[in-house]
């Protein structure tokens, strides 16, 4: 017990709190026994119990001033408060039954799955897709003929004339190339650099109508100029959109609350 409770005023206040809690039925255990003992032994406490009961009994009959206003909305009120523009958007975002939540969940889920597939888990093929370019494989077909050049076009980057690895403008191919053997990356001939193999150069730059050329073009089209695969960007965009919708909904609900 704090020292202050030993003063008569503090003790009286403590007793009053016990009695009012007893009156409210909010006591249990030792406090209840103590309050009952107080109300039985202390005249002031007993009087407080009686007064509190009388006040409680009178409160439900508390009179209400008569209503003097009709609270129905007029057409002008309705027009003033009808949601328009951004408030309509807020209402759509915050509405309990709106499609925002499932839409946001779906977008975020698609984004996460897309990220896993394109850049994350090797088990999903993403690891192969993001594997670095195998430079040794680049040099192997460099001495080959036209047929080898065709094969090289499908599986490896174009070699530089000096045998050094060719500059690769893409970090990873499209997901469709994830099954490429040895994790080989895409081959794109550096502009202006001579290719040691004419047929290879033809396939890469002119777009030969065979399967190898189609695959190459697909890979090239699925990459951005910055070297990020479109799949990764789309996944990030989906995830960001989902999160943005969640945040917008939370903000809208907070604003309309």
């Amino acid at each position: 017990m704090p020292l202050a409770s030993h003063t008569p005023a503090a003790e009286a206040a403590d007793h009053a709190e016990l009695i009012v809690a007893l009156d409210a039925g909010d006591l249990a255990g030792p406090d209840l026994d103590r309050a009952r003992a107080l109300s039985a032994s202390c005249a002031g406490c007993a009087a407080l119990v009686v007064d509190l009961a009388a006040i409680r009994g009178a409160l439900p009959a508390l009179p209400v001033p008569p209503r003097r206003r009709d609270y129905r909305l007029t057409d002008e009120d309705a027009a003033r408060f009808r949601p328009t523009g951004w408030r309509r958007a807020l209402g759509w975002l915050a509405a309990p039954g709106s499609t925002v939540r499932p839409l946001a969940t779906g977008l975020a889920t698609l984004g996460v799955v897309g990220l896993l597939l394109t850049a994350g888990l090797p088990g999903f093929g993403g690891g192969a897709a993001m594997a670095p370019v195998d430079t040794e494989r680049v040099e192997a077909p460099a001495a080959g003929g036209a047929a080898q050049g065709d094969e090289y076009t499908m599986t490896g980057p174009a070699p530089a004339p000096t045998g050094a690895p060719a500059p690769v403008s893409t970090a990873a191919p499209a997901p469709g190339a994830s099954g490429a053997p040895d994790g080989a990356g895409p081959a794109v001939a550096a502009p202006g650099e001579p290719s040691p193999d004419a047929s290879a150069e033809r396939n890469v730059t002119a777009g030969a109508p065979d399967d190898a050329g189609d695959a190459k073009l697909g890979e090239t089209a699925a990459a951005t100029g910055d070297g990020l695969p479109v799949g990764l960007l789309v996944s990030l965009a989906l995830l960001a959109s989902g999160i943005a919708l969640f945040v917008a909904r939370a903000l809208a609900r907070g604003r309309l609350a």
């Binding site: 009053a16 709190e17 009012v20 809690a21 009156d23 409210a24 039925g25 909010d26 407080l48 009686v50 007064d51 509190l52 009961a53 009388a54 006040i55 409680r56 009994g57 009178a58 409160l59 439900p60 009959a61 508390l62 009179p63 209400v64 001033p65 008569p66 209503r67 003097r68 206003r69 009709d70 609270y71 129905r72 909305l73 057409d75 009120d77 309705a78 408060f81 949601p83 408030r87 209402g91 759509w92 915050a94 509405a95 309990p96 039954g97 609900r253 309309l256 609350a257």
Partner: protein, 216 residues
């Protein structure tokens, strides 16, 4: 009215859930859902039917929470405006409970905003033309005693702290339980109990000289 002495938090019925407590209330709840749906489609008449159904309830609640009648009327009007603006956020199950929460919040916001502004509490109660409802067999002396008791009690209630008044009106007058009051006012269960206890002690202190009116 339940006797709080014999009740606990879990035993007392929740006022916000009353619409589903009795068959008549269930019908009212179904009617409310239909009217809400029509109002959401732009039918102002449907919303005004909801206003007609609940304006007396909201008025009686807010008028007890806000001593100044003009402020109370403003708070009720603001509550209905707010309900109309935010009808799309209503998620059930009880329109009455949802509207009550809005009305209590409007009353509390208004009291916070005008906390230090002195008001004349319940001036209507000084108007002799208005008297509390009485049965046909009630004698004039009883009516006069009830009117005097109401005046004194209302004046004392207006004099205590707003948060204590809100808790006492919601519990002792409107019949909400502790948990529902905690949700309505955004405070903990312990705070609700404390406000009710202290408010009752404050009332007793203010009414100490007039307790003979209540002991009959």
């Amino acid at each position: 009215m339940d006797d709080p002495r014999s009740t606990t938090t879990g035993e007392r019925s929740s006022a916000a859930e009353r619409p589903s407590a009795r068959p008549g209330d269930e019908a009212a709840a179904r009617r409310d859902e239909i009217l809400v749906a029509r109002a959401l489609e732009g039918d102002l008449g449907a919303f005004n039917q909801l206003v007609e159904a609940y304006q007396d309830l909201c008025h009686s609640l807010v008028a007890r929470l806000v001593p100044d009648p003009d402020q109370a009327a403003d708070a009720v009007q603001e509550a209905f405006f707010s309900a109309y603006r935010n009808l799309r956020t209503y998620r059930g199950p009880s329109f009455r409970g949802w509207l009550t929460r809005i009305a209590v919040n409007a009353a509390m916001d208004l009291q916070r905003a005008r906390k230090r502004r002195p008001v004349s509490p319940y001036p209507e109660l000084e108007d002799e033309s208005w008297q509390p409802t009485a049965g046909p067999d009630t004698d004039p002396e009883t009516i006069a005693g009830a009117a005097e008791r109401g005046r004194v009690l209302a004046a004392a209630l207006a004099a205590i702290a707003a948060d204590q008044r809100t808790a006492i009106v919601l519990y002792d007058v409107e019949g909400y339980d502790y948990a529902e009051i905690a949700r309505l006012t955004g405070v903990s269960l312990g705070t609700v109990k404390s406000r009710i206890h202290r408010g009752r002690l404050a009332l007793r202190g203010l009414l100490a000289d007039r307790m003979e009116l209540f002991r009959s």
